[in-house]
């Protein structure tokens, strides 16, 4: 679990300072701050059942107060821990109404992070054939491409990672996690559905940003909740990973279009990433029968992506499924369910150490356009 860096501590302090002066902050963007705050409150109510809802609605606070609290709350949240109640949440909320200081901290601004999926340098689309893919350069058709994103931050001009407070945007986002979905259920994407999403929306303190950091994953507190109780996009379906009582963080599949030789399995590149090595007998205890197990996993398998030279107003984050499978022979059945011989290549492409499940600092799947 990443420790709070000095940079993110600064972000917390900045957000707290903003909350002291919440009226000034919200004055900068009063049209966006309040609705966001209200949505955040709702989301935390629905997420609260799983203990994941980070920020409870402010007791008697104004909407803009809650908005400031959301900033502070998620700023203090390391990627793994989910946003379940940090001390910062309550502290900021309680004191915000006192507002007695004055400085020129920027208010929140809306931000949209646009994603685009590609197969190599071509746009990703179900039903399209792409030539020259994988280590043996075969023709493939997409079968799936979806992934969850948590802990989104923007890099300011000083290199500080400033948390983005995610909007509640049903069914794609809660304040804790967003789902990017590039398949539309056509062609070979037989497990999919027509709905797609290629954007993450939220708020950040006004300013100039030149990079983005995000994690492919779902916070622990939500990952092992009951998918029948969780808010969308954490629903039972193709992204659930019931056998490990969790979710797939990423589901990417390319199927070879050529007929297999003999009675071989059709060529397939498949990557399902999720936390593995899990147990529920925590603290030496036994599972609490009748409630969702308190699951902990030894390999979190959450990769962190850091992209410089990214201006959210003008740039797009490209997710290249071709790069993910660049080292894989797609003429044969090559499945990685976070276990299997092909995993090290794909995990490395995502920025994961397959042995430990820890993030690495290099990845080749995402780039800025």
């Amino acid at each position: 679990m990443p420790k709070l860096t000095f940079a993110s501590q600064s972000a917390v302090l900045a957000a707290l300072a903003c909350s002291f002066l919440y009226y000034a902050c919200s004055n900068d963007s009063s049209s966006s701050g309040s609705p966001n705050a209200a949505q955040g409150g709702e989301a935390s109510g629905s997420g609260g059942k799983s203990g994941a809802g980070g920020s409870k609605p402010a007791a008697g606070g104004s909407p803009s107060t809650a908005g400031a609290r959301n900033d502070a709350g998620s700023a203090g949240t390391p990627s793994d821990a989910g946003s379940a109640g940090t001390p910062n949440d309550g502290g900021a909320g309680g004191e915000a109404g006192l507002g007695d200081g004055g400085s020129s901290n920027p208010g929140p601004m809306k931000v949209s992070l646009h994603f685009k999926a590609t197969v190599g340098d071509q746009a990703f689309a179900c039903g399209t054939t792409y030539t020259g893919q994988g280590s043996t350069k075969v023709s493939v058709e997409p079968r799936d491409f979806r992934f969850y994103v948590q802990n989104v931050r923007l890099l300011d001009t000083k290199g500080n990672a400033v948390p983005v407070t995610l909007d509640t945007r049903t069914p794609w986002q809660t304040p804790d996690v967003a789902l990017l979905d590039f398949e539309d259920g056509t062609g070979a994407c037989v497990d999919g559905n027509p709905e797609k999403n290629d954007v993450i929306t939220g708020t950040v303190p006004s300013g100039t940003y030149s990079g983005v950091v995000f994690v492919n994953g779902i916070p622990d507190a939500l990952n092992h909740g009951d998918p029948l109780q969780l808010p969308a996009p954490l629903q039972a379906g193709a992204m659930t990973w019931g056998w490990l009582y969790g979710f797939k963080f990423l589901k990417a599949e390319l199927g070879a279009t050529g007929a297999p030789s003999g009675d071989a399995e059709p060529g397939l590149g498949l990557v399902h990433v999720g936390s593995t090595g899990c147990d529920n007998a925590l603290d030496g205890g036994m599972p609490d029968y009748g409630s969702p197990p308190k699951v902990a996993c030894t390999e979190p398998n959450r990769n962190e992506v850091r992209l410089e030279g990214f201006n959210p107003a003008t740039n797009t984050i490209v997710a290249d499924i071709g790069a993910l499978f660049a080292g894989i022979d797609l003429s044969v059945d090559n499945q990685c369910h976070s276990e299997g011989p092909s995993c090290p290549s794909e995990f490395a492409a995502l920025g994961l150490d397959f042995t430990t499940g820890a993030p690495t600092t290099t990845q080749s799947v995402y780039h800025v356009e």
Binding site: G192, L228, G277, P293, E339
Partner: protein, 452 residues
């Protein structure tokens, strides 16, 4: 088997026949002692105590809860849970306004010696949910391509298995393991062959419904199933009866709750052996009676893991003092000399990634075992006779191929699995006993069959 051990066994048997009488003899101390014996026998090899506890297959474990009750007749299963979970259900059912049968009033029709199953607080048993769950269990609409239902792999006549070594999903994908019997699944501490994370039937149902490795029923989304079920007229009534007052009761949560409720009624406890235990000495053959004694002998030692009313140590019930979820490596494989099992069937290790969990699987119930061939998680043992070969060798030896290895030499093998020698007649006796566990009423009970 020594004379002394036989005497202890007989005494225990006599006690189990008249077990209310036994608990009357020492209701304050006798029953708890029996419980402790039962627990210890799974992990220790103390010859005297374990023989005695193993002997009372029916008597031991139910008596655990019984000690808190008045020690009444064997049919007082309900009373056993007074101090435990059912009390909470009573409140829950009342507060939740469940119409129809409140969970606490659910009539389980439990066989003699069976404790009350544990039921999650938020899904109390009702007749209506069981009825709905039965329709769902047998409905191919629960698979994406509408070719399979739960019952495709869990067939009543085979004690809710399918006779295959490996399950086959709705799209033809072969499962690494065979479907487990659902007989008495309500009592399983954890579900499937070796997954400590799966503790409730409600959540477990999501795996066959939505899982894609392997694809079983192959559903893609909650909406797909809900939309499909809402279009079926019989369901509008069934869901409404199960959740009266709910304006849109067709949800995946309710689907899995109903499926779980139905599965909890799949209770098998009326085999010839049970009738023998509860008063009919002629219900099983002399050979089977000898086989039962061998089963519980320290030499053969089946009882170490196949103990208690459900003939498995992996049981739980309402009010049980301790939650046990034992798993055992029986030396079925040892492909690297270090105890390895062939992937992906590495048992609990597959889930936890703990090396010590390699090859550890649940001991399944032996009820109806004669109709659930082939055996073991991967169906790699074809007959009961072959299963006895595996155990009498203290672990199987495979002489060639990728899985070759000496299971009896596995460093990860449970130490209770030790070689033994039995005559041909003794072997026949053991198999006769195992065959006496077939519950024909269960295999043909119309209430558990397809309602369609």
């Amino acid at each position: 088997m020594t004379i002394a051990a036989q005497s202890a066994l007989l005494a225990t048997l006599a006690c189990s026949f008249l077990y209310y009488g036994c608990s009357g003899d020492g209701s304050s101390s006798g029953s708890p002692d029996a419980t402790q014996d039962g627990g210890a026998s799974g992990s220790e090899s103390g010859p005297g105590g374990s023989t005695s506890s193993g002997g009372s297959i029916v008597g031991d474990e139910p008596a655990a809860g019984g000690s808190t009750s008045s020690g009444g007749a064997p049919s007082d299963g309900g009373a056993r849970s007074d101090g435990g979970f059912a009390g909470a259900q009573l409140l829950e059912g009342g507060a939740g306004g469940e119409a129809g049968d409140a969970g606490s009033n659910f009539d389980w029709h439990l066989p003699a010696g069976f404790p009350v199953p544990l039921v999650p607080d938020d899904n109390p048993m009702t007749r209506q949910k069981v009825s709905l769950g039965r329709y769902l269990f047998y409905d191919v609409r629960l698979s994406h391509n509408q070719t399979q239902s739960c019952s495709s792999c869990h067939q009543q006549a085979l004690a809710f298995t399918d006779g295959r070594a490996h399950g086959v999903g709705s799209t033809g994908v072969v499962h690494p393991r065979g479907p487990m019997s659902l007989a008495n699944v309500a009592y399983a501490s954890t579900l499937t062959w070796a997954n400590p994370l799966q503790t409730d039937l409600e959540h477990q149902a999501l795996v066959p419904l939505f899982g894609d490795d392997p694809i079983e029923l192959g559903l893609g989304s909650e909406d797909e199933l809900v939309t499909r079920l809402e279009a079926v007229s019989v369901y509008s009534g069934l869901f409404a009866q199960a959740w009266p007052g709910d304006p849109s009761p067709v949800t995946v949560e309710h689907v899995v709750q109903a499926l779980a409720s139905f599965q909890r009624t799949l209770i098998s406890g009326n085999s010839p052996f049970d009738r023998y235990q509860y008063g009919d000495p002629s219900a099983i053959s002399k050979s089977a009676q000898r086989g039962y004694a061998l089963f519980n002998s320290t030499d053969v030692g089946c009882f170490h893991c196949h103990v208690g009313f459900n003939l498995t140590d992996h049981v739980n019930w309402a009010g049980k003092a301790f939650l046990d979820r034992p798993y055992h490596n029986t030396g079925l494989y040892n492909i690297d000399g270090q105890g390895a099992y062939p992937a992906p069937n590495t048992g609990v290790e597959h889930v936890t990634h703990r090396p010590a969990d390699m090859g550890r699987f649940k001991a399944p119930t032996l009820r109806n075992i004669a109709v659930t061939a082939p055996y073991m998680h991967d169906g790699s043992i074809a007959t009961l006779d072959d299963a006895l070969d595996h155990y009498s060798a203290g672990g199987r030896t495979i002489t060639s191929g990728p899985d070759a290895g000496h299971g009896n030499l596995s460093p990860l093998k449970d130490p209770v699995v030790q070689p033994f020698t039995i005559s041909a007649e003794q072997r026949a006796d053991l198999i006769a006993f195992l065959q006496s566990l077939t519950d024909d009423d269960f295999l043909h009970d119309p209430k558990l069959s397809s309602p369609w």
